[in-house]
Amino acid sequence: MNKWTLRGWQLALLIAVFVLWHLLTAPGLLPPFLFSDDRQAAFFFGEPLKIFARIWAWFVTNADIYQHLGVTLLETVLAFGIGTVLGLACGLWLALSPLAAAICDPYIKALNSMPRVILAPIFAVWFGLGVASKVALGVTLVFFIVFFNVYQGVKEVSPVVLANARMLGANQRQLLRHVYLPSATSWVFSSLHTSVGLAFVGAVVGEYLGSARGVGYLILQAEGSFDINTVMAGILVLTVFALLLDAVVGRVEKRLMKWQPGTSENEKV
């Protein structure tokens, strides 16, 4: 199957899902078989046409979603950036100093196994209801993913490549810059899709738990008034942007990781 036929089928599947959704929820279209009242299906599951109308209003007629979307994306990018840098730094440091790693080991395990979403209320108290508390939550999610990958990456640097670099005259700093860091980066990139996703989760969950702006806030507001169509519209918008972020990461990865065998093959699916 060539690329365009494949895309065609994927699109057809999407349309089919929405058509089915519409048929099952639009009041009066099908005789009710699950709910006693034919409005109930629409109440619980929303109606695709109204959802699209909502999205249209957000983006075009009212154009009032941009500030919310902007806030959510800003939180995502900040959480991702800060979490990655911190994870990279700590991962490199601990991997290169076994003593520190041995001392910190149980605490890192504890922090990692803790359900960190529960920190959101504390961050709200510390950093307020603005952007900072969401970024903090996202950072705690991203940090560990990157940290463990970098740690692993440094531990698994090929001893031969390392010995070779030393024989070529690399000093400790040059080893860090030219051997450990590139090796760790490849591991970071393998975790990038996960960590961008988690940064996004951190931002939205943070907003959902308490905020004045952001897509998570919109969803929370709509839910408060049982406006299921708006909730669904928010979810769709978030999904599309999550996909876009993932595509951007894929692009960056392809550019930076071209030295790695088979990254292009891994891009399939």
Binding site: N164, R166, M167, P182, Q260
Partner: protein, 270 residues
């Protein structure tokens, strides 16, 4: 045996004992009391059965490993830390996969802060026949090409001593002979001291001025030394057919055979 002046590299009664990390009572002496020297411009091969500590010997010469006793001297100076006068060609893949072929060849010069690193690296890539492959990454090159890059990476630094640890063992026979001839040609032009480790006696005789046989491990040590008086320049494929080569081969094999069998028995028992 004639050795003019100071030797480029000399191992003086070196031993190397590894201690198990879990149980310090468990010790393994890889090499014991090895004295070996390589004159300036001399090509010396060390042959021995598998697991006889050949690589240990080379790592000590490179300064990657400290001898437990004895010492290593480089151009008369006792060695501490990494041997900066030596280039090392490893048996396994040693190129940095995130650097292009050119980047890899440049690496050593970059670490040293040489200004015209790129020009020199390009020059050496051409010399090993990879002029047009500078922008390829290691995974895009064949095994033979990667070895050439490694060779260029080592030689671009113009080391006084070249250490080679079975550099061609992973290559097919044809590529291997080509590489051996190339190495001989490059060596003939510059006359570096070479310490070449191999398990392939043919290769050792075809390339060297001198072949040193090691006993089977543990605690392996030299058990024989042969001067290879074949004419140079040599072609590694053709030289194998000469009567003198066959004679030398037989003589060295006499010494080596028992050790190879011993090493094999030990591996079976382990």
């Amino acid at each position: 045996m004639h050795r003019g002046g100071m030797s480029a590299l000399s191992l003086e009664a070196v031993s190397c004992t590894f201690v198990s990390r879990d149980d310090t009572a468990q010790r393994y002496t890889a090499v014991r009391d090895v004295t070996l020297s390589v004159g300036a411009g001399e090509f010396v091969s060390v042959v021995g059965p598998t697991g006889c500590g050949k690589s240990t010997l080379l790592n000590m010469a490179a300064g990657l490993l400290q001898p437990s006793t004895g010492q290593v001297k480089v151009f008369g100076e006792p060695l501490t830390g990494i041997n900066k006068r030596a280039g090392y060609m490893f048996q396994a893949e040693s190129l940095m996969p995130w650097r292009t072929a050119l980047g890899n060849v440049m690496a050593g010069l970059e670490f040293r802060g040489v200004a015209d690193a790129r020009a020199q690296a390009e020059e050496w890539l051409k010399r090993v026949g990879l002029g047009g492959f500078g922008d390829r990454y290691p995974h895009q090159l064949s095994g033979g090409m990667r070895k050439r890059v490694s060779l260029a990476q080592t030689l671009v630094l113009d080391p006084g001593i070249i250490l080679m640890d079975e550099p061609f063992s992973a290559l097919d026979v044809q590529t291997r002979q080509l590489m051996e001839n190339e190495v001989l040609a490059l060596w003939a032009a510059k006359k570096k001291a070479v310490l070449f480790i191999t398990h392939d006696l043919d290769e050792a005789i075809a390339m060297s001025d001198r072949v040193v046989c090691l006993s089977a491990g543990p605690a392996s040590h030299p058990i024989g030394e042969f001067r290879i008086d074949l004419d140079r320049p040599r072609d590694v494929a053709e030289v194998r057919a000469t009567p003198r080569f066959v004679e030398l081969h037989q003589a060295i094999w006499q010494v080596l055979r028992d050790e190879v069998l011993k090493g094999y028995q030990q591996q079976l028992a382990a």
